[in-house]
């Protein structure tokens, strides 16, 4: 059996605030294979975003191990973690999080800039990514000049421009109306078809069924994993 792209063993996350311990994640075991499309769902506060932050190396588990591409990530320095985030991971946020002072193009180019890539190559890649999400015609716009759906498509382009191993999306449709939401989901489905690995948090069962596998979290635990029945 090939090594999983992501493997969490007994991962826990405990937040300490004012003497109160919050067990956001309790003993998570999880494997995600390359090319998989996984959705995570569960009630509010069950630890979905926390899990995603750990997967994205934005946060560290309180205990347990995390293997990414077969390598454990626990010993990495801040700079090495930044490097892994930059190369291996693409983020899509609920509130888009485009940088207001930068144009659409500059937003998409940004991860490549942190990689120290030459300008010409950055440009080609960013434009290609924007084409892929259908935003090639808005490169000079500022985020404030775009609709929410358009902003989120730019955010998708920014997430995939660096050709990461995995796209992490935290409720990408949460701030969108259903029509725009469906467009973004269609885009993700398309990306998946061309081989992208996706891990997406969503409340919305309509969108969860796009995924090959849904992980249910409850109170920081995986309570149920199911493979949706393919409607045939």
């Amino acid at each position: 059996m090939p090594e999983a792209l992501i493997r969490l063993d007994n991962v826990q996350k405990v937040f300490l605030t004012d003497e109160v311990e919050t067990h956001a994640l309790a003993s998570i075991h999880l494997e995600i294979a390359k090319g998989e499309y996984v959705s995570i769902s569960g009630p509010s506060g069950c630890g979905k975003s926390t899990l995603l932050a750990i997967l994205g190396l934005l946060d560290t588990p309180s205990s347990g191990t995390y293997h990414l591409n077969g390598k454990t990530v626990s010993g990495l320095t801040l700079a090495e973690r930044a490097r892994v985030r930059n190369r291996e991971i693409g983020f899509i946020f609920q509130s888009f999080n485009l940088i207001g002072d930068l144009t659409v193009f500059e937003n998409v180019e940004l991860p490549l800039t942190y990689r120290g890539m030459p300008a010409k190559e950055r440009r080609d890649r960013a434009l290609a990514a924007l084409e892929k999400v259908g935003m090639g015609h808005r490169v000079k716009h500022y985020p404030a000049q775009l609709s929410g759906g358009q902003q989120q498509r730019v955010a998708v382009a920014r997430a995939l421009v660096g050709e990461p191993s995995i796209l992490l999306a935290d409720e990408p449709t949460g701030n969108l109306d259903s029509q725009n939401g469906e467009q973004v989901m269609a885009l993700l489905a398309e990306l998946h078809k061309t081989g992208a690995t996706i891990c997406m948090v969503t409340h919305d069962s309509r969108f969860a069924k796009n995924a090959e596998r849904t992980i249910h979290l409850f109170d920081g635990r995986v309570v149920d994993e199911k493979v949706p029945v393919l409607v045939g």
């Binding site: 930059n86 983020f91 999080n97 207001g100 500022y142 985020p143």
Partner: protein, 795 residues
């Protein structure tokens, strides 16, 4: 009113902001109050006499000889006084020194010889006794004296003195009055005596300062015309090209300080502007945090005035707080200033916080605070409600207000760079003045000023032998390597001129008096001073004058001026008003030039005679020491008292402290400007720090995004410092431009450095970037250490 009370309550709820704002305003208002009270005292209120604008200083000039302005002679003074109709009074003001006989031995005083009309002219009668009466300033009148209030208090403890005798220079005077406290116009003095001159005084002997009061209805122009006309009627003066004119005495009295004061006032206005910009940035940041509140209120139907009123009220409250704090600071600054540099101001100028100063400082506080409030109001009213409400849910917030804050910080940096530039120039000037080559070696030199008063030193012979005995005794002191003396020490504040002629010289004919500096020195003077003998020899050491073999040494300036390209050795110089050929001296040596009249001016042609030839009643001994000169002064005093108990010691000080006295004003200017520049820089750095902190706070989410996209902490650190240093670079570029422009105004205040001096600009840049980097570090570190998850959650 209720708006003000509410504003006070709101400010009370953010005490940090309120205190910072009041402190900044106080600093700006305080510096302005201190400097403006100087400007008010010296330039606006003027001399402490009734109608000070009517007082004039009269002088004579000779455009043909390049003499712009000179004091006058006794005969000219008499002609001006007797023939003019423009003046109510004309008075001589002849400052000098005299010795007061005391039981402890002679004491040196500052005395001023004045005409009988002097106190009427000033319009300030003595507070006790009476002023001088008509005729008391004529030969043969009984000798009377009026004490200055200060001297009366310090010397006589304020005890009744009217009618008491005092002995000045061995002659008995009767005290007839006590001058008003703080009069000190036009010069500070201990005692006023009538100025009495012999009937046959020479027209060529220029030594007398003269003041006058304009009569009712007469103008400065009238006075000038009339003085010129009077000179036209004096054949000898007309023939030699002399004319006369007048300037307001007030202008004259502050001519040294005027430029410096205006410059300082300009500097503190810039500081105030920086405070305004800083406050505006602070208010903007505060308003930005409440954009949504404002937008919600606007959406609920608040008018622009409704939105502006609270901000205006806060501005007024802050201004009042800043004003009160500023007055306290201003008083403190002023006190420090007067203690640190008492000699920088004329003695009559005692700055106080009068009504005008209070009003101006209130105006400064209100103006600054309201200017800043208006900026914040403009920003608030302009932000369209919909956008403000939408902001935050979309891209990162409020670029507009951040840009406005950046503009203010650049303005602050620009102004502080300009001030730093000016301060740098004045510091360089001070250092150039202090470390320049003076033409003599001052470091191990001790100077002892003596007067030889009274009957004991009546004859030249008595003075000669006293000086000789003193020289011998002082030479024998341990630690003294050589001793000599002069009548006018370089930079000591005394200069004598003489008229002379040269044989066979059309440009300086023997028949025509020419004026040059003159000094009487003891043997070995040049060597003791460390001056270089360029040609010939020193004056020969003799014990008595030899009128048939009179010798003179000239300086290089004299040789350059009268014998360009040739040697002056062996040439003959004639003296006396008509260049009497029987009173001639042969040039036996040429010495190097020294700084004599001022640290800035290069020396005029100068003649050095032997003290034997003239033997005035004053002598300054110069002692070259192997020890620190100050350590010897008490032994020198003791030795002088032992050898010549009747001599009066004016002072015994190291030459370096004489030089220090010449640096009072440049030091005052450089010190204050540096203080203001540093204040400005600190304020600007605070502003930069504030803006960057706001930026980091506002961009927390963005920084989280960048971290998620793979930015390393170093990238984020550079992002913030880059922005800060970018602002600094903009401020530097603009500030250097401004500094170059302002530097041109300094002109005459600078010495040995130009406004475009690259070293100065480089130092300013270095200082600015160091301080700007410090201001960047904290916000940048905070940004770089943000937790990405928390940052992303931030909206």
């Amino acid at each position: 009113m209720s708006e003000l009370r509410q504003a006070l309550r709101r400010l009370g709820r953010s005490p940090g902001f309120a205190l910072l704002a009041v402190a900044m305003l106080g600093l700006g208002v305080g510096t302005n109050t201190a400097v403006f009270s100087l400007v008010n005292t010296l330039l606006l209120r003027g001399l402490p006499v009734p109608a000070p604008g009517d007082l004039l200083s009269l002088f004579q000039s000779n455009p043909k000889r390049g003499v712009e302005r000179d004091v006058t002679s006794v005969p000219n003074f008499r002609d001006w006084r007797d023939q003019s109709t423009c003046f109510t009074h004309v008075s001589a003001v002849d400052p000098g020194q005299a010795t007061l006989a005391t039981p402890e031995g002679p004491e040196v005083l500052a005395i001023t010889g004045v005409s009988a009309s002097f106190f009427d002219l000033l319009g300030v009668p003595p507070v006790a006794g009476r002023g001088f009466r008509k005729g008391e300033d004529e030969e043969g009148a009984p000798l009377t004296a009026i004490l200055s209030h200060r001297f009366w208090q310090s010397r006589f403890g304020g005890r009744p003195m009217l009618g008491s005798p005092i002995t000045l220079d061995g002659r008995p005077f009767t005290v007839i009055g006590i001058a008003k406290e703080g009069l000190e116009v036009p010069v500070a003095t201990d005692v006023y005596v009538p100025a009495i001159y012999p009937a046959d005084s020479q027209r060529g002997a220029l030594f007398l300062p003269v003041i006058a009061r304009l009569a009712k209805g007469k103008t400065l122009a009238d006075a000038r015309t009339q003085l010129a006309a009077i000179m036209e009627r004096i054949p000898s003066e007309k023939e030699r090209g002399w004319t006369a004119s007048a300037v307001p005495l007030a202008e004259d009295a502050v001519s040294d300080q005027r430029m410096s004061l205006l410059l300082l006032q300009g500097a503190v206005l810039l500081v105030l502007l920086i405070v305004a910009a800083n406050l505006a940035a602070l208010l903007l940041a505060r308003a930005a945090r409440k954009t949504r509140d404002g937008a919600v209120r606007a959406a609920l139907g608040a008018s622009r005035m409704d939105l502006a009123a609270p901000l205006l009220a806060e501005g007024v409250v802050l201004a009042l707080g800043g004003w009160l704090f500023g007055l306290l600071l201003g008083r403190a600054f002023l006190a420090v200033l007067l203690v640190a540099s008492p000699a920088a101001l004329p003695a009559w100028a005692r700055p106080v916080l009068d009504g005008r100063v209070l009003l101006v400082s209130l105006g400064a506080a209100l103006g600054t605070a309201l200017l800043a409030s208006l900026v914040a109001i403009g920003q608030k009213v302009r932000s369209v409600p919909i956008e403000a409400l939408r902001e935050g849910s979309r891209a990162t917030p409020s670029r507009g207000s951040r840009r406005a804050q950046a503009v203010f910080v650049v303005l602050e940096l620009t102004l502080s760079v300009a001030l730093l530039g000016l301060a740098g120039l004045t510091l360089r000037t001070l250092s150039n003045l202090a470390t320049q080559n003076l033409g003599f070696e001052s470091r191990t030199l001790l100077v002892a000023n003596l007067l030889l008063p009274g009957a004991e030193f009546e004859t030249p012979g008595a003075r000669r032998s006293a000086v000789q005995a003193l020289t011998e005794r002082l030479s024998g002191l341990p630690g003294v390597t050589s001793v000599s003396g002069t009548t006018t020490l370089p930079l000591g504040g005394n200069y004598n001129d003489t008229v002379f002629g040269l044989e066979d010289r059309p440009d300086a004919p023997a028949t025509e008096p020419n004026v040059t500096g003159v000094d009487q020195v003891l043997p070995g003077y040049f060597e003791t001073m460390g001056m270089a003998l360029r040609e010939g020899r020193d004056l020969s050491p003799r014990s008595a004058p030899d009128p048939r073999a009179s010798e003179v040494v000239v300086n290089q300036a004299f040789e350059r001026r009268y014998f360009p390209g040739a040697s002056a050795l062996g040439k003959r110089v004639f003296f006396g008003p008509r260049a009497d050929p029987r009173r001639a001296a042969t040039i036996v040596g040429v010495v190097s030039d020294v700084k004599r009249e001022s640290l800035r001016r290069s020396e005029r042609p100068q003649l050095y005679f032997s003290y034997l030839d003239i033997t005035p009643r004053r002598m300054t001994f110069v002692l070259r020491t192997a020890l620190t000169p100050g350590e010897l002064s008490s032994q020198v005093r003791a030795a002088i008292r032992e050898v010549a108990p009747a001599a009066a010691i004016t002072s015994v000080t190291p030459m370096d402290s004489v030089l220090g006295d010449n640096l009072t004003l440049p030091r005052f200017l450089a010190g204050l400007l540096t203080f203001f520049a540093v204040t400005a820089l600190v304020l600007a750095a605070l502003g930069l720090f504030g803006v960057l902190s706001t930026v980091v706070a506002q961009r927390t989410n963005e920084i989280g995004v960048r971290l998620a996209l793979g930015a390393k902490p170093g990238d984020v650190f550079r992002l913030v410092t880059g922005q800060g240093l970018g602002l600094a670079a903009a401020g530097l570029a603009l500030g250097v431009g401004l500094s170059l422009g302002l530097g041109r105004l300094l002109g005459g205040l600078l010495y040995g450095v130009s406004a475009t001096d690259p070293t100065n600009l480089a130092s300013v840049a270095a200082v600015l970037f160091t301080v700007a980097s410090l201001a960047c570090i904290l916000p940048a570190r905070r940004a770089a250490s943000l937790d990405p998850v928390a940052a992303l959650r931030e909206e």
